[in-house]
Symmetry: D2
Subunit: 364 residues, 4 copies
């Protein structure tokens, strides 16, 4: 009953409800000597902020982050970094409807069964705002990765049926469309699809892809804390994610060993793989190729259509979820997946530092 922490050495603990006083995260185990500012974290938070395009909720939140500890004279000190984002949208409002009804697709029902009490305001702890802590931590993790020359990047691979094929990727276009797709052309089609769903008070999902380059070989701890296993936990723990795959993922079963195996080659003393069906992991450890993971995001559960449901007294009734909701959360979840990937990688980078006796002798 203490599932709000992730990571073993770079350990993040998130807290906060949608309409409580604030949301935050404590990062324990960040190495000392890292340059860190609120401005850097804010850049990450701004990527998930609402109200940035016509496809996102209009809720107006500044989501300004405050560093409460762990940084001195612009550098991390090795002590826990506490980050706070105050909620602004706490105005008194009539939640009566949501208080007594279980919204389909939401956590309301199991949450109530589990705890016997529920902060129903805006979804409480199960709100998308919970990801603020993840993204703030991801911002810190990404700085560490940068220092080591490792890059992590997430983007929208598909919205509903509109997919960007790998051969059509134009990474430079990701920031040019509000869906964060590596193809403005596909993004435009997807945008029209979303608009048509909005007109029907409906919603859609999509697939987020995240890649990481320049990882050292051997990240990931056999047996249970494999790189791909921890990434699966990290990304599946994001609300609305229903599947995670690495490399060819669910296509791999359709291949054969002779095609799916990535042959090794060496050139100028550097070992590489001739292909990358594996998506950068072998035996649960990074293999030197690009890490490739994908997350399947379900359609937004909050829709303005009337749906069947039951109330907290166990009676059948209907519900119409009011308010403005994202018709698709994929674009805003891109930075969340990138953050969880970054956090996982940093934790495994730290863990891997104790793999060999010779490493101990380098430090001591």
């Amino acid at each position: 009953m203490s599932g709000s922490s992730f990571g073993k050495l770079f350990r993040i603990t998130t807290w906060g409800e949608s309409h409580g006083p604030g949301i935050g995260v404590v990062i324990d185990g960040c190495p000392a000597g890292l340059a860190l500012s609120e401005a850097h974290i804010q850049k990450f938070l701004d990527r998930r902020k609402p109200g940035q395009s016509k496809y996102t909720t209009k809720r107006n939140e500044a989501d300004s982050v405050e560093i409460l500890s762990g940084v001195f004279e612009g550098k991390t000190t090795g002590t826990p970094i506490s980050l706070l984002v105050r909620n602004q949208d706490q105005r008194s409002r009539d939640y009566g409807n949501i208080a007594e009804l279980f919204r389909p697709g939401h956590a309301d029902y199991p949450f109530t069964e589990k705890y016997g009490i529920r902060d129903y305001r805006g979804g409480g702890r199960s709100s998308g705002r919970e990801t603020i802590g993840r993204v703030a931590a991801g911002a810190v993790a990404s700085l560490i990765l940068n220092e080591l020359g490792i890059s992590v990047r997430a983007y929208t691979k598909s919205i509903g049926p509109f997919t960007v094929s790998q051969e059509d990727y134009r990474f430079s276009e990701i920031e040019e469309n509000s869906l964060y797709m590596p193809s403005n052309a596909v993004a435009e089609q997807a945008g029209e699809y979303i608009s048509s769903l909005m007109a029907e008070r409906d919603s859609c999902g999509g697939i987020i892809e995240c890649i990481a380059d320049h990882l050292p070989v051997g990240l990931g701890e056999p047996v249970f804390d494999k790189l791909d296993a921890l990434l699966a936990q990290a990304v599946m723990s994001v609300g609305a994610v229903k599947g995670v795959e690495i490399g060819d993922g669910f296509q791999a079963p359709l291949s054969t060993g002779s095609k799916n195996n990535d042959p090794f080659r060496a050139e100028n003393g550097r070992i590489y793989k001739e292909s990358n069906h594996a998506g950068g992991t072998l035996g649960g450890m990074s293999d030197g190729s690009r890490l490739v993971l994908r997350a399947a995001v379900k359609p937004t559960s909050s829709i303005a259509r009337t749906q069947h449901t039951v109330n907290t007294s166990g009676e059948n009734t209907d519900i119409t979820v009011l308010g403005r909701h994202d018709p698709v959360i994929v674009p805003r979840a891109v930075v969340v997946v990138e953050s969880m990937t970054a956090v996982t990688l940093v934790d495994l980078l730290l863990q891997n530092m104790t793999a060999r006796m010779e490493y101990l002798k380098k430090i001591y």
Copy 2:
């Protein structure tokens, strides 16, 4: 660097190499008073034993389990349960080839880079025999689930392109074919496919599905230790698994909110969902519907064809993996996925016992 444990309260720690003295697991945190015998565990282990059909390796291992601790007069005592399976196939053999080459698709290369040393005999720690500890623990977990009326069952959904559609499931046929598919007809087709690949010294993969029924509502700990997140880690940590999905998984993004949301209904005081696209989890907690997860298993990496690779000196060369290997590991991995699911569920059942003050008052 200590990734061999899984679970917080029902905590399993596996150990052992393919050709070392033995393989085993320590289960710490098993509640006292559970009837447990070696015979029960053996039944689970026999399901993953090699040599049971023409599609599995001929390695002849009895894989007999010994209970070393934690059981007294046929019942668990609450102390750690140590389980040991001796390796029999330790005969001296020429491993020279594997010792100096990195097998494509295997952990050889990253393992060597990570640790600087590698027990190359039969894959060492990265061998499929590592799953013996998982399955032994799964056998114990399944007994606990049985006592609570919860059932878990895994089976082969597809082999290469041969898939059993949900509407064609015949659960009674699972034990009737050596591929553990819920359709003898599809299993026959799949068997021919495997035979044709064997003739070509090639291999294939497949998809394993696992279902759990009669779970209490509310299992899973927000935020990072969600039911689906921990299942994703648990299952992705199994060698050869490249993807995990819950419910509609990677199909969910193609749906819309109005179709994908599962409406609630109540009947005779019982709340249920009219559909189960979610696969039994909402907000990362069990929702009372059937839990449905799928794992994508890649084609067996060990194939008898000659492949490109490099040697441990970093030179280009070719490799032909000798010995008899499973052309498809899916059937033997079925019980592994079932075991990891059972272990995860038991751990979350224990964790959930502290969710409410009123539960404390029931016990104290």
Copy 3:
């Protein structure tokens, strides 16, 4: 490198520096349905506040706590409880002296060697203000204990050479003297001793005793997470504590088995011990008798006398620690020891709920 968390199920994570923006704690795993208010936590915090007697520093801090999450309509919801205390004493000040010198008895030197950087203002993370998070968490833990009829109470057993013998305990007097001793008479003598040391710019230590009554039998997890072992960690982790003992502790080696063993007796179906040399634990589990632990607190390290030291350049020099410091921290540490005891007990109460299969059947 992530040592700011304590507890497995009732898990607290503290953060904050003496002169940063604030200090706080996140409590993850508090059962839902507990009545909790800021006023209750404030009462605990007020017990450790400075400026309450002539023996404590005059630093004027309100130390007002704010509940940022995890409580809804006056009850805990099962989600993480984030507690924040803003630092008020952040005024710009000349710390130059402390910045470049290592204070004897303080963490300055090892902290600098460990992290290469140090927030020197007021001791940074190693300040006594770090205990604010512990006490806030202890306040919540004590509420849970109260609900179960368990009481925990700490007090000052000795100040320097002035000790209250067990046969002289007057618990009603604890709140009547500013040293929290169970004897006003001894407290008066101790007070004079402290005054004389203050006149000499010196300081002293003491012994804190903590007792807990009405614990269920069997709390504590063999082998490493024994009740006494976790209490030892919990209490030794408090700054300035140099020793921890249970029951007769360091006197036990002077006894013999025939005297030190506590014989069992039964009366009206209740089992009890005829004596309690063990201090309430047998085999690392609570035994139904009163839990008795003692912590040895060293003399305050900050003294106004000139002492030898070295500076951060490794040169010999002298230091005179300026500012007003507690001549003895024992009275203010009483509530810290009580809090750490309460937190440990709650964590073990939660863990113990999964000890038996029959408990699972009570909940499910």
Copy 4:
């Protein structure tokens, strides 16, 4: 309910009952490349073996260790090291008396209350034989320390009232007397004392001291995982230990700040302390001085005298504990305390490797 593991990165999990098939430990997280043999571990185990002097039980156990995994060609591979010691003394015997009575001073009563079932044979999991796993792990940890030039040594400081003063220490004599005291003269007196107690069917306790030299400065993780806090847990978790202190420990409260503070000095660029009242820790981190800890061991609970007790039906009765028992367990516990210290130090050495960004850059 899973308290059989200790350590975060160098993580040991012990298992086994006194009269079950065997006792063992799994060490997960041992760095790869360490030379390790059964012979080295055996040397440690032999130090705790029974039957080595007239003061120890005559139980004849070879206690031979077998390495089951994690070592290849004489070196650790980074995978879990599983160590097994078979119990030989499993002969059928009449335990009826112990089965139905709670031995004073033993874990029988709380164990039964906790789990509802108890392996009463020889104390089961609460037997002193449980320490075999600790000592086997300590043997491995000590090898790592040796490689880094760190030494750990434990010895008997006092038996009953017979104490060796620090100024009389003769370390060369430790191995010369069967009590492991650093003074043959005091050991002789203590031996007579033990003999007299044996004649009276009584037992005694003592104090074990453990020192560690050449630790790097800065080991220990603020706030809860401080070096002294984790040592306190590690050592207090050993059966029969009732108190732990660091440096001056329980004498510190009797001193004053001006005497108890250890002034810093520098010589030839090396910083040291002019005294070591602190016992080698400041702020919970190693400070470069000798680490000094002491453990108070209670008198052996098993005595041949008749004592009051109750039976499992809750009735008053008497008990006479049969069999041959150590009149004092201190000498055999010396290596256990040394082992737990070594394990704790290695874990903190590994944790400390991630303290600074510059360390990451040294490895990656």
